[in-house]
Amino acid sequence: MNADLFIPRSLDEALSVVQTHGAGLLVMGGGTMMMAHLNEGIFFPKKVMSLARAGLSGVYRNGHTQIGATTNLTEVSQIADYPILSEAAYQIGGPAIRNMGTIGGNLYMPQPAGDLAVPLLAYDAHVELASASGSRTVSLEDFLAEPRSHRGVHELLVAVHLPDPTGYAAYLKLGRREANTPSVVAVGVRVVMDKQGQISDARLALGAVGPFAFRAKNAEALLIGQSLNAKSIADAAQIAMEESNPFTDALATAWYRRHMVGVFVKRTLEQLTK
């Protein structure tokens, strides 16, 4: 297998590799997805760059929280200020996978993998994309919806930015077994309540039930101005089911995924009433 492997020692070096080799360059974070493809022997990239030594890992607080792209899932699972982010990270794989997989790489995982997008959408995350000519910050929502062919070619995801969390959040993942499995559905919610106990702001993010993780905005809108009660929870669950666009794969049928969106949105919102 003849290939060029680049292991840049800094972001600048990584960006210059991107600039020089552009299209056709495969970028690896922790390699947990790309190495699996290589091992299948059906995929022969000619140019590969690993970001493992580019100095992009670490969690920084500076008015908001910044998580470097190659911060591994073990480290993400220990971030205390964003409980459903750490929970979601802990529920991925086993310890060895979490030592390898990175937050940046996780955001490039095709569904039904890539659980971290769900809590990150609930926390209004932005991602920082850098290229040799500068950097831009876009909402995670917009990033996930961008066509994949635009990525990894001329810019690199270098960090995830999170505003200070407000309100209450909950996360639930359904898999076919308890550990080390992709999601049938993953649900992340965050609600902010006013003094009267009415919801003033809501995020309801869904994973594994569409082409990418997304916010169920109609369900969010329905929750605003309501209290969390049996009716508002049931209505939000129903609307979230309608907003889902699930697929059938080896883990679950589209029908089952949609059904479980209803069950898990309900359970997740009910957690917030306790």
Binding site: M1, L5, I7, A36, A52, G94, P95
Partner: protein
């Protein structure tokens, strides 16, 4: 690109090996260095049979570029015990019949060692969580958990 040379500490000994750029650490361990305890299972990150320690942390050697081992410390099952001097985990797996086909045992033992090095007194639930990425299709896991608990008890008594 031609082959590249990586140099790392393997089971305590500095080792240099010529590899192809995209070879996995598992392939290098098994096919270049002829250390066959580390198993080639699914190659997809699903089974844990290729688990080794890099800088004392468990990783899946099938998903790690061997090139990234350069300058690191790698420990395989061969590095923690030998037939005349078995590691307590190996002895406990033997005593508790924690292996039937044995294919998962090296990965299980390396994952368990990583746990015990950090947390010498884990609960049974913590042991199970540490093994969440390791599949065994023979034993039903009970004997494996029993074996690791035995080692925990031995360490408490020692």
């Amino acid at each position: 690109m031609e082959s590249i040379t990586v140099t790392f500490k393997l089971n305590g000994k500095t080792t240099a090996v010529a590899i192809e750029p995209l070879e996995s650490l598992r392939t290098v361990l098994r096919e270049h260095l002829h250390l066959h305890a580390t198993k080639a299972g699914c190659g997809q990150g699903g089974c844990g049979s290729c688990t080794v320690l890099v800088n004392d942390e468990p990783v899946l050697s099938c998903l790690m570029l061997a090139a990234l081992a350069d300058g690191q410390e790698v420990t395989t099952l061969e590095g923690i015990g030998t037939p005349p001097h078995m590691h307590p985990l190996q002895t406990a797996f033997f005593d508790r019949f924690a292996a039937q086909c044995g294919y998962c045992s090296p990965g299980m033992i390396m994952a368990a060692k990583a746990l015990l090095d950090k947390n010498p007194h884990p609960t049974r639930a913590e042991i199970a969580e540490a093994l969440a990425g390791n599949l065994c299709r023979c034993t039903g896991y009970v004997a494996i958990l029993d074996a690791i608990e035995d080692v925990v008890t031995q360490m408490q008594e020692a």
